[in-house]
Amino acid sequence: MSGTAFRSPPVHHVGALGWLRANLFSSIANSILTVLILALLAWTIPPLLNWAIFSAVWHGTTRAACSDAAGACWPYIWQRMGQIVYGFYDFDQRWRPDIVYALGAVGLAWLVIPRAPRKGWAGIALLTLYPLVSYVLLSGGWFGLPVVSTERWGGLLLTLVVAAVGIVVSLPLGILLALGRRSELPVVRTLCIVFIEVWRGVPMITVLFIASSMLPLFLPDGLEFDKLVRALIAVALFNAAYMAEVVRAGLQALSRGQREGAAALGLGYWRATGLIVLPQALRIVLPGIVNNMISMFKDTSLVSIIGFFDLLGVIQAGSTDLEWSNPNTAVTGYLFAAAIYWAFCFSMSRYSAKLENDLAAGDRR
């Protein structure tokens, strides 16, 4: 407070010039780095823009449009958009994933928009009602909806289904595993440690192969799970093990006094955990949790290895299609996939930054 009464800072500390001097040219080494990086950007950005925009083909419906293009082949993306968004989902049933997309967008917007009311209800609906409605809509078999086999799901739809199930199941499961690992009961503790270490010790691809090809051999006759369900369980359990270790870091960062303070007030284990320990621990490790979620989102592309055509799988399959075969189309496809992955991951990162900010504001130190 008393600082405001003092005189203003010297001129070279403020304004654009001050910023440049402080951040880009504060020393000789710093100035050299600045120049080098500017040169690197000048060397790489214009060709990329030229390829992706200025020399790119934007119109057309067939391969001929791109046959002698020097840049990206965007008509290929427009033509394939249906597959990229829905996979091989039955054409006349695509309104069903559309509803699922729309509901999801509304729910997320509700959570993200700062002044939206009743966020708690939005969260609960998004975690309980929404998966149920989505399942009924997407797989069908109820209310006269024709069944669409999960083998026909694909593209962005499949990527989002795998990522959402992975994220939503692995966090609570990871929290339970982290609590279990710190339990005073030896049986619980041992089981949690074994679970975490086994899943963490095996590559994701191996887990997916086991889920898709080996598991059916071990299951008794007649007991059969859908292949996608098996993959979803594998993804969720695998990531729960990672989540558990992130959450455990948060639990360990809290002083023992917090649990003792809660215990001395008569709060039992679960109430102390839910009201005192987890709100603080999860907040400490929020960056780590979101880091895991982002990595999980991108790892969904591994399901293409067991025969699913997720976002990347569909685009990759399309690029080998003779009808569009051309070096530029393949690269265009990958660039487009990268842009979509980036958009989702960057949104998650921004949302977590906002959340961190809001929570820190709660302290008003």
């Binding site: 006094g257 917090q258 003792e260 001395a264 007030l265 008569g266 009201l275 302290d363």
Partner: protein, 255 residues
């Protein structure tokens, strides 16, 4: 002590410790502790560091588990039975050296949490009671701040208010002023004296001998896991019997 005498003592006492022993690994922290506290009695526990004072107090609400002997608090014996532990903790408030306020909640929310979740009080009623205790602690104006925004003395008074909100029959203090800057010790001791005058049963681990002199009914001196001297403050300060006790007093009072 005969069996009948023990039972008599149990009937009249709000806290009874009989032959309580505790070990940390091979190290005996508590050796055959016998302590009987009547309702409304104020007891100050002092002694050199590592003598087991904190452990003794923490056994009374089962933050530490005793290995041998009997602890009966307000008619409930502390055993492995979780229900008994919960019953005791509802009636025993505790104030810690490090305050242990919940930093993610406002002071008011700190105070209403347990009454709402454990005592099942309606939110409004819990808040009214909390505001009353906060005014008694002279920090009602801080109710909507978070703990980190308060000074150490204010935080400790908030912690006392939080414990009182559960309407406990007994208050335990584990070195409540040891983590405070010197100029804040007075304000905390003041509210503790008020509390003592209102007839609260208190067991207080502290080296504040002025406080002991002013409010204690009895001073217990611990050394190496044993209570080696118990006396009213007058006797304790003027004519301690044990050499260890005399040495301790000379060190702490000359200081």
């Amino acid at each position: 002590m005969s069996g009948a005498a023990t039972d008599m003592a149990v009937a009249g006492d709000i806290i009874t410790l009989d032959g309580v022993c505790k070990w940390f690994g091979q190290f005996a922290v508590l050796k055959n502790i016998d302590l009987h506290v009547r309702a409304g009695e104020r007891i100050v526990v002092c002694g050199p560091s590592g003598s087991g004072k904190s452990t003794l107090v923490r056994c009374i609400n089962r933050l530490e588990e005793h290995d041998e002997g009997r602890i009966v608090v307000n008619g409930t014996e502390l055993t492995r039975d979780v229900r008994n532990i919960d019953t005791v903790r509802r009636e025993v408030g505790m104030v810690f050296q490090q305050f242990n306020l919940f930093p993610h909640l406002s002071i008011l929310h700190n105070c209403t949490l347990a009454p709402i979740w454990v005592r099942k009080l309606p939110k409004k009623q819990a808040e009214e009671a909390a505001m009353e205790y906060l005014s008694e602690m002279r920090i009602a104006d801080q109710a909507h701040k978070h703990p980190a925004q308060l000074s150490g003395g204010q935080q400790q008074r908030a912690a006392i208010a939080r414990a009182l909100c559960m309407n406990p029959k007994i208050m335990l203090f584990d070195e409540p002023t040891s983590a405070l800057d010197p100029e804040m010790i007075g304000e905390v001791l003041e509210v503790m004296v008020d509390l003592a005058r209102k007839g609260m049963t208190m067991i207080c681990v502290t080296h504040e001998m002025g406080f002991a002199r002013e409010v204690a009914d009895r001073v217990c001196f611990m050394d190496a896991g044993e209570i080696i001297e118990q006396a009213d403050p007058e006797t304790f300060f003027t004519s301690p019997k044990h050499e260890r006790c005399k040495l301790f007093l000379s060190q702490i009072l000359d200081h």
